[in-house]
């Protein structure tokens, strides 16, 4: 898959997190292709899209960083990543990241992509599996903890 389709998501992740929370995101490595099982770091949000192609963006955040996101966006203190506003903050950040990346892809390649609403979840020993889609991951770090973005595309039948 062409890297041109992935890079808007990576750029958008860095810029949106910096703009919304003031936290700088460092991209640790190059694009890694991922198997069909991804072990969650803590709090994960998935936003799917469809148009001329289909796919989804996974934002996977360590618990401590998710709590910081919630704290920064709502100016409240949280102790658990299961609190509603912590989950909602990760979900909203993912929504804005995906929205911006999709707009760029639509403008450049006329893909007519539209987003489904984001889902967000946390739990114990969580594994995410997306059968039939090949995906790539990028590991990133911040001073509060790590995060991973995973992008998958499927050609529309």
């Amino acid at each position: 898959m062409k890297t041109e389709l992935y890079s808007p998501f990576i750029i958008s992740t860095k810029e949106i997190i910096s703009q919304m929370t003031g936290i700088e995101v460092e991209v640790n490595d190059a694009l890694n292709s991922e198997g069909d099982e991804i072990i969650s770091k803590g709090v994960s949000s998935i936003i799917a899209f469809a148009g001329k192609i289909k796919g989804r963006l996974l934002l996977d955040v360590e618990n401590e960083l998710a709590i910081i996101f919630g704290k920064t966006l709502t100016e409240q203190n949280y102790t658990s990543c299961k609190e509603f506003m912590v989950l909602a903050s990760v979900s909203e950040i993912n929504n804005i990241i995906a929205g911006r990346a999709i707009t760029e892809l639509n403008n450049k390649y006329s893909l007519d992509l539209r987003l489904s609403p984001p889902i967000v979840f946390t739990g114990k020993d969580t594994v995410i599996s997306i059968p039939r889609l090949s995906s790539i991951s990028v590991n990133c770090s911040t001073i509060y903890g790590g995060l991973k973005i995973n992008i998958a595309f499927e050609r529309s039948v």
């Binding site: 969650s40 989804r56 989950l87 609403p117 889902i119 739990g123 997306i130 059968p131």
Partner: protein, 153 residues
């Protein structure tokens, strides 16, 4: 939320599971939830775009998921929830949602669906929609299937 948006998913669930020989499918309870605390191990989420925007999450216990996979594979024994079983559950939820989307299109609500994501783990908390989701507990001959419908309408 209007029943005309909910019923196609129930009808599709009954039809698709029925095609695999699953019987006694009926609705047990309906609840409205802001965030879902799922006590079942496996959840498959499919997104909706177009005339309706939202997510549908189908939750199963591991035991029920394995029994359904076995029914889908002509009775072949499924002892582990491995990549083949995950793929089967993904395909099942894709078929149910696609079948519901056909019924909705016939009712002048055209929708497109996104690829399913399967999430498994213990003590899961989910938010699938910015509006409260409707949770339907469906009992089937192979165990409980929970359908969570989060539509932003």
């Amino acid at each position: 939320m209007d029943a005309k948006y909910i019923n196609p998913f129930l009808e599709a669930l009954k039809n698709v599971l029925g095609n695999f020989g699953v019987t006694d499918i009926k609705r047990d309870s309906v609840q409205v939830k802001e965030n879902m605390n799922v006590d079942m191990d496996i959840t498959s989420v499919v997104g909706l775009i177009g005339g309706l925007r939202g997510n549908i999450a189908y939750s199963f216990s591991q035991d029920t998921a394995k029994k359904i996979c076995s029914a889908m594979m002509m009775g072949a024994q499924v002892t582990e929830f491995d990549s083949m079983a995950r793929s089967a559950i993904g395909e099942l939820t894709n078929m149910i949602t696609a079948s519901a989307s056909i019924i909705l299109s016939q009712n002048n609500v055209p929708i497109d669906i996104t690829p399913p994501s399967i999430i498994f783990g213990k003590d899961m908390y989910f938010i699938i929609s910015s509006v409260p989701a409707i949770t339907l507990d469906m009992s089937t001959g192979l165990g409980k299937v929970q359908v969570n419908i989060g539509l932003e309408i």
